[in-house]
């Protein structure tokens, strides 16, 4: 869709021909296959994401030995058939802890992204559609939260609620929704000018119904693309917070805290750092690739 701003005459005529031009460019040879190629990429990465999710759900059953069981005789043991990724300082099997860590990280990242996307989009749509004081309040709140250093929030919440997953969810969640709110608001502001919204108002739709039936489906695509990319950022966020010791408590297995613990003895047991590091890297990579493919599909 080409948007011609400025005061050129007879806007309609241009839009029509632009659409024709873009449609013409659409059916150009390479554009067509490109679209199906991108769709293949999306399906492939969706499959990978699903695989990771299933692994994280079935982790308690796939685990070769007890992730929390310490045994003095195997401290900092090298990777062996019995301990595929070796053991850490307390002799715990790193492979099982990485699997259990997956359960924690992936599940909660997805949960957090879902929640922030829904909340952010809802507030963004309301701000964009109604404008006026709604818009002001929500946008000032967004500004304030963005200016608020996430670190202070995370640690303060850690202080109030104590460590653990709830703290990280709250810390990342409180500022996570602002991205979607701003995005949704921008989209809705431009969508509001479209004629089909005027037509919908004229055919007696209530504002609520217009927002739900007409506006939301048209901006959902953009939101999902950003959500996919945000999952990766959230994963790194979780790991970062537990790396600073604010996240999960000691016996729990979470990638960030495992890396933090193991960085001390990286020289004798590098696998203790590299295993969770690699797991984190791969998971974030898969989600980023999915986000990338989705945004290509949406046309930049």
């Amino acid at each position: 869709m080409c948007r011609i701003k400025g005061n050129c005459k007879d806007k309609g005529r241009i839009k029509e021909n632009c659409k024709e031009k873009s449609r013409m460019r659409e059916n150009r040879g390479d554009e067509k296959t490109n679209k199906s190629l991108v769709r293949k990429r999306i399906i492939f990465f969706l499959f990978l994401v699903l695989l990771l999710f299933i692994i994280s759900l079935l982790a308690p059953y796939l685990v070769p030995n007890d992730p929390y069981g310490t045994n003095a005789s195997y401290m900092k043991a090298a990777p062996s058939p019995e301990f595929p990724f070796g053991t850490d300082k307390l002799g715990r099997c790193i492979f099982s802890r990485v699997l259990m860590g997956a359960r924690l990280s992936i599940f909660f990242s997805l949960l957090l992204v879902m929640v922030t996307m829904v909340a952010g989009t809802f507030l963004g749509v309301v701000a964009g559609y109604y404008g006026g004081i709604f818009d002001n309040i929500i946008m000032r709140l967004v500004d304030m939260l963005l200016a608020f250093p996430q670190l202070v929030l995370a640690i303060a919440v850690a202080g109030v609620l104590g460590g653990g997953m709830t703290n990280m969810l709250l810390a990342l969640g409180l500022t996570g929704w602002t991205l979607y709110a701003r995005l949704a608001r921008g989209q809705v502001m431009s969508l509001k000018q479209e004629e089909f919204i005027a037509a919908a108002r004229l055919s007696g739709n209530s504002s609520l119904r217009i927002m739900a039936v007409h506006i939301l489906p048209n901006i959902a695509g953009e939101m999902i693309v950003n959500a996919a990319i945000q999952v990766g950022t959230t994963l790194v966020g979780f790991a970062g917070l537990s790396f600073l010791g604010l996240g999960v408590q000691v016996p729990e297995a979470e990638w960030g805290s495992m890396i933090n613990e193991a960085k001390g003895y990286m020289q004798q047991a590098p696998w203790a750092v590299l295993a969770p590091g690699a797991a984190l890297f791969i998971t974030v990579a898969v989600f980023n690739l999915l986000g990338d493919a989705l945004s290509d599909y949406m046309g930049r």
Binding site: G69, Q249, P251
Partner: protein
């Protein structure tokens, strides 16, 4: 056409990198001062010891908070007395001190003088004590005493009531003696009596000291020293391996293992220090048999192996070398513990935990994630699990504000300095006395309280030690407290470095006149 773009782009990248690089170098606003490049420090003829420290000073005033600890570590300041390696008080600036009742007469050494040559007079010493009393709340009791200058080198202190451990207080590094007239506001300069003088001080950053030529206590072997602020223990390890450090203390267990593998380059010295890991059993919630079973199950030797080398298991709160550290605790006996529980009516349920009338025996351990308490909690969880006690862990970000204040715990872990000034009274009064801040497990025993009151005023050293042992043994036998381990003071020294107070259990001594490196 594209080639042209590519060439242009690569030039842009290279020039920007150079710009970014050199901009940093020449920028005046560099945070850390310029010192000689790493590594070759030792070749120059000057002997400069490079040390890393996990704490940083904002000002040089030794009387403020714990800054005295660090001015003492830097070898800048000395107090009237000090603690020796056997944790007993020895005179430094003071010659001698006699007490009759609550009157102490202190004589200052003839040759004691400041680094600017002025002699240490009793008037200056009294002014120092008063100054410390004013700005350091922990020594506010110094203001209640009255002081009388007898002559240039002697003065008399009269305490409100008989105060046998006055000398121990006078030995604390916070009561350092400083030339108050010539040290300005002690923000950047300091004139004191130590073997070294400050040469460059960056608040919150690196500290450099040089030999004090006019040192009253004899010849100072080193030319100077540099203290880097390195909060992250792993960074110190890497710096040491990289040849940028010569010695540092509080070495982590992982680092100790690496240094242990290269005995010809690094010398490791481990001494049990005064920091104690212990747990408080909540007598209001746990019955005597359960508490005894717990104490029988917790195996401090196994914990010592897991924390490989950073702690030494202990039965009492004080180091065994001290006269007052003779308490004993029952040997580990998991089977005995199980019998006790069964005798108390608990039956083992299907998933291996003890149950009594439908209720699983489950304990909550409250701890905070510092000083390896988190590892201790995990290990105790597993050890108690072996005798059928289900354990849940709660980590608090600030213990004193939460479980210590509210008593909301079954088992509370804590780590604090037990032997502050080589005298047992301080720790006992903080943890075992009625209403003591850390007596939050409901321990109250008339006999113990009587002994504590007697200890408060007892002046004779042997009697004090015997009283302390009796009180501590009582707390152990009543299963109110469980003393697990004493943190070691592990010091690593590059080959040729000697005398960095590595054998002294106290953390606040490091650089001395005899410190040397070849």
């Amino acid at each position: 056409m594209n080639k042209k773009i590519f060439v242009f782009l690569s030039i842009l990248i290279v020039s920007a990198m150079a710009l970014a690089g050199c901009r940093n170098h020449t920028g005046e606003g560099l945070p850390v001062n310029e010192t000689e490049a790493a590594g070759e420090g030792r070749e120059q003829e000057k002997k400069i010891l490079r040390v890393s420290e996990a704490f940083v000073l904002e000002t040089l005033n030794p009387h403020l908070d714990y800054q005295g600890w660090y001015t003492s570590i830097y070898g800048l300041t000395e107090a009237l007395f000090a603690m020796d390696d056997q944790s007993s008080v020895k005179p430094v600036l003071a010659e001698s001190a006699e007490a009759e009742g609550n009157e102490w007469t202190v004589k200052i050494k003839e040759n004691a003088c400041f680094s600017n040559g002025n002699p240490v007079t009793s008037g200056m010493v009294v002014r120092n004590l008063k100054n410390a009393g004013e700005i350091n709340p922990r020594f506010s009791n110094l203001l209640d005493y009255n002081y009388k200058i007898i002559d240039d080198k002697t003065f008399r202190i009269t305490t409100v009531e008989v105060y046998p451990t006055l000398l121990n207080d006078l030995a604390s590094p916070e009561l350092a003696i400083v030339d108050l007239d010539n040290s300005g506001d002690m923000a950047k300069e300091l004139v004191a009596t130590g073997p070294f003088v400050i040469s460059k001080f960056e608040p919150g950053g690196t500290v450099e000291v040089a030999r004090n030529d006019k040192y009253w206590g004899g010849e100072v072997k080193l030319d100077g020293a540099v203290f880097y602020y390195m909060p992250e223990a792993d960074t110190s390890l890497m710096a040491m391996q990289n040849g940028e450090l010569d010695s540092y203390t509080s070495v982590t267990s992982d680092a100790a293992e690496i240094y242990g593998q290269a005995p010809d380059t690094y010398k490791l010295v481990t001494v049990p220090a005064t920091r104690l890991q212990f747990y408080i059993l909540n007598e209001n919630r746990l019955g005597a048999p359960v508490r005894k079973a717990i104490n029988l199950a917790v195996d401090s030797e196994a914990i010592e192996t897991y924390l490989n080398g950073t702690v030494t298991s202990t039965s009492g709160p004080f180091s065994p070398t001290a006269a007052y550290g003779k308490a004993a605790k029952a040997a580990v006996d998991p089977e005995g513990a199980k019998e006790l529980l069964e005798a108390d009516g608990y039956i083992l349920n299907v998933d291996g935990y003890y149950e009594k009338d439908g209720q699983v025996l489950s304990l909550n351990i409250a701890y905070y994630a510092a000083r390896s308490l988190d590892t201790l909690a995990a290990l105790m969880q597993e050890q108690l699990g072996k005798i059928g006690i289900k354990v849940t862990l709660t980590c608090e970000e600030d213990p004193d504000g939460t479980y210590i204040a509210t008593g909301d715990f079954d088992l509370a872990l804590y780590c604090m300095i037990a032997d502050k000034a080589s005298d047992p009274y301080y720790f006992i009064s903080c943890t075992l006395a009625e209403g003591a801040p850390y007596n939050c497990g409901g321990f109250s025993n008339g006999k113990a309280q009587a002994w504590i009151d007697e200890l408060k005023v007892e002046t004779d050293r042997e009697k004090r030690a015997e009283l302390a042992n009796r009180i501590v043994q009582l707390a152990i036998d009543e299963d109110a407290f469980g003393y697990v381990a004493l943190f070691n003071k592990t010091t690593v020294m590059r080959k040729g470095v000697t005398n960095v107070s590595e054998n002294c259990p106290f953390d606040f001594y490091f650089l001395t006149a005899d410190t040397d490196m070849d």
